[in-house]
Amino acid sequence: MKLTLNVWRQSGPNTPGKMVKYDLPNVNEDMSFLEMLDVLNETLIAKSEEPVTFEHDCREGICGSCGFMINGKAHGGFPKTTVCQLHMRHYKDGDEIFIEPWRATAFPIVKDLMVNRSAFDRIIQAGGFISVPTGSAVDGNAIPIPKSNADRAMDAAQCIGCGACVASCTNASASLFTSAKIAHLNLLPQGQPEKLDRALKMVTVMNEEKFGSCTNLQECEATCPKGISIENIAIMNRHFVEASFMQRPAMSEGGAG
């Protein structure tokens, strides 16, 4: 099939960008969207033009590297699909497609379709972990976990950190991402000791990182390639409120001798 692409080109974070039009005459329906861009890039290189920069790695929908807006929808808007898993059979001959990077103040553009998502790492640094140094664990079966809790934790833990939730939200809120981690850990017995501290700190850093606030529009859940539920946001809010009332800083270690 024949496609017309309009791709956002921007050489660096501080240079202006613009949409550039490309005709692609020979697209096969079994190609993935990224393979289609590979073909575009090979033709650009052959013409001594700069190929389009986009992020990708596993191409199996699990590493979370890829992602951009296709016709205004994160990852193209197909249910539970990242762009690397999106196949061209969903498009038809003659289609015109618009491709743009994630747009969010917290995700500055690096180049073309690539953005800087390091704010997500900093949210995790704030408390998205269980403090258990190597070697200090008890036997795995010493902590029985009801299957339903383990399943719910797993549902939340599936987040791939791609950023589609932020990009699809009009407020550019990172609530789905942050809450998925809080819920994953706070639903498990291992996560209890740091539960309130975690909610407090992660939400605080999320707000500091220039993400917008959640106004319950639910776009995030609809576009999440892993189908992460906004139920997690409710859990986050509950634990955050609880923490705001209850949480006191731990005493630092002391003692004589």
Partner: protein, 637 residues
């Protein structure tokens, strides 16, 4: 060069314990005075960097992705082995040791494998404590599934996303150390050279992938957990960015490269569909717990699967290997699929495929149970092929998946360059000539959490390290070398793209150094790869500049190294006049077509030494001795 593998003496059950006891320690207050570089933050590197940080070392870690959470380990699907024996089905440390050694066709070191089996149990405990949501039984205990090459159920899993969950666990532990200031994490940074001073690894040169700037980093020890080199084949199940560059450049600085021809072809992957194809997708081995593999009995049977009656189907693995059936090890299952297709019984448009059929288990267990076990894998399959595997069987074909070869390391996981430690898939250590499923995650985490933190401490405590600075002539030399490679790539200004070269290389290696090899083919391939390499440096085109984000340039550097590695793989395969595990030489097979080892002549690790541009590499042999398990013809019949 004499290879000292530092294998401990005494009974194997006590070997690791007594090695740890005899190691030197660094007192807590002194740890922060040591600077350790960890290159790669996948399972192996990430686990190691976090653990070193917890111990109090001053750590700098690097990865080329935008976050450590994206390392290739994230894609592992099926599970991780551990000798917990929670199923009461006869598992033990000794059995995991035995299975792994046998699975590797007796080309691995007994002591390493034994230690791996021992620490496997700690890994599960550690990961559970971190909050890894492993699958559970209704009673709340951990669930298990079976994997190839074993008759016990010892594989722990988190749906079809085990690698993701384990990596997220290690990543979170790592980010905790970043938050505490103990680890400095530099993302989008690629190691492009190793700095060796007075014979010891003392740092690395990196290229900042955003700005293009090259930097020198000095340290007291360097750890590499930079992954495998399966992408030498161009098409593989590895992530697109996986590469050999860190290992290769260390090889050129004196680290030996062991068993490069030992690569794993995974039997169950989605078949190639067209020329534009950029990678292959694995369908986890765990599917073979409930899926049955078959091909039509008749040559060129063009009926659709549901039209082929039971009597016209050949469940060839069940027929040939009745005691392991569909769970025969990977090398054996892949070769069997290749033979079926070579005979003309393959299915699908290309004839390069066999069926993986869930009809019977859906009838037995119901669609819901199958969905719960493998739902996400079925989704991936449907998304890629447009076919519904609940209704018609999957079509699968073998694809390159894992590399058993890698940088040579001793029992302490140290390479032949003192101070350079190599972990995870990047080293050659534990899987011999064939890796069993669910053992790579185990090995990466064993190395990173439970082995390297001890052996690195011992090295630091035991070694006199002079103070060196970034102005050292060797450091500057490494920087110039790396800058020189970039310049040459940009200045070639030829006509062919990097991908075109990579595809050609991949096809050559797949055709002649893939599932089966022979002398004439390997000799041909060596010539071809040499020609391709020569053409590459004259005729490659890399657009853009070196002082900017340039993905083509990144890829060009990696392909340049793959071209050299490809030749070494063929040299190694040609030298090994026997068949073992994934290395199948047509000339050496038993009367029923199984791999025929030659223990008398080839019971050794082939460790190759770089001798300079254009010179033939030198072969060093580490003899393998077996005190506990007597090598026998591997049988899964």
């Amino acid at each position: 060069m004499t290879l000292n593998s530092r294998i401990p003496t005494g009974p194997i059950e006590k070997a690791w314990e007594s090695t740890k006891f005899n190691m030197k320690l660094v007192n807590p207050a002194n740890k922060r005075k040591y600077h350790v570089i960890v290159v790669g933050t996948g399972l192996a590197g990430g686990a190691c960097a976090a653990s070193l940080g917890e111990l109090g070392y001053n750590v700098t870690a690097f990865c080329f992705q935008d976050s450590p959470r994206r390392a290739h380990s994230i894609a592992a699907q099926g599970g991780i082995n551990a000798a917990k024996n929670y199923r009461n089905d006869g598992d033990s440390i000794y059995r995991l040791f035995y299975d792994t050694l046998k699975g590797g066709d007796f080309r691995a070191r007994e002591h390493n494998v034994y230690r791996l089996a021992q620490v496997s149990v700690n890994i599960i405990d550690q990961c559970v404590a971190q909050g890894v949501p492993f699958a559970r039984e209704y009673g709340g205990t951990l669930a298990n599934r079976s994997f190839g090459g074993a008759q016990v159920s010892r594989t722990f899993y988190a749906r079809g996303q085990t690698g993701q969950q384990l990596l997220i666990g290690a990543y979170q532990a790592l980010e905790r150390q970043v938050a505490s200031g103990q680890v400095k994490m530099l993302t989008r940074s690629e190691m492009v050279d190793l700095i060796v001073i007075d014979g010891k690894a003392r740092g690395i040169v990196t290229r900042n992938l955003v700005t293009g700037k090259m930097d020198i980093h000095i340290a007291d020890a360097v750890v590499m957990g930079t992954g495998g080199y399966g992408n030498v084949f161009y098409l593989s199940t590895n992530a697109k960015g996986s590469n050999v560059t860190a290992s290769w450049r260390a090889y050129k600085r004196g680290a030996l490269f062991a068993n490069p021809c030992f690569t794993q072809i995974h039997p169950t992957c989605i078949p190639v569909s067209g020329e534009y194809q950029s990678k292959l997708t694995l369908m986890s081995e765990s599917l073979r717990n409930d899926g049955r593999i078959w091909a039509p009995k008749q040559l060129g049977d063009k009926r659709s699967a549901d039209q082929i009656p039971e009597g016209d189907r050949d469940y060839y693995l069940e027929r040939m290997y009745p005691s392991f059936g569909n769970l025969a090890p990977r090398d054996i299952s892949s070769r069997a699929a290749k033979r079926v297709c070579d005979e003309g019984r393959g299915v699908g448009e290309t004839g390069l495929g066999v069926y993986l059929d869930f009809r019977d288990s859906i009838q037995r267990l119901g669609e819901n149970t199958i969905r719960e076990r493998y739902g996400n894998l079925f989704e991936i399959y449907e998304r890629i092929t447009g076919e519904n595997p609940y209704k018609s069987p999957m079509r699968i074909f073998p694809a390159v998946h894992y590399t058993m070869g890698g940088l040579w390391v001793d029992y302490h996981l140290m390479s032949t360059i003192p101070g350079l430690f190599v972990l995870g898939e990047a080293n050659f250590s534990d899987h011999g000539a064939n890796r069993l499923g669910a053992s790579a995650l185990m090995q990466g985490l064993a190395d990173g959490y439970f082995v390297a933190p001890y052996t690195i401490t011992n090295y630091l405590a035991d070694t006199k390290l002079e103070k060196v600075s970034a102005d050292h002539i060797e450091a500057k030399g490494a920087l110039e070398n790396a800058e020189g490679i970039t310049k040459r790539l940009l200045n070639a200004k030829g006509k062919k793209t990097v991908t075109q070269f990579h595809r050609e290389l991949g096809k050559t290696i797949w055709d002649y150094c893939g599932m089966s090899r022979d002398e004439a083919g390997l000799k041909h391939a060596i010539g071809k790869v040499q020609e391709l390499k020569e053409e590459f440096w004259k005729n490659v085109t890399v657009p853009g500049s070196g002082s900017d984000l340039n993905q083509q340039l990144e890829n060009a550097g990696r392909v340049a190294d793959f071209l050299e590695l490809g030749e070494l793989m063929c040299i190694d395969a040609l030298d090994r006049n026997e068949s073992c595990g994934g290395h199948f030489r047509e000339e050496y097979q038993t009367s029923d077509g199984e791999a025929q080892r030659d223990d008398e002549k080839y019971s050794y690790v082939a460790a190759w030494e770089y001798k300079g541009e254009g010179a033939a590499p030198a072969l060093n042999k580490e003899p393998l001795t077996f005190e506990y398990v007597k090598p026998a013809q591997r049988s899964y019949k």
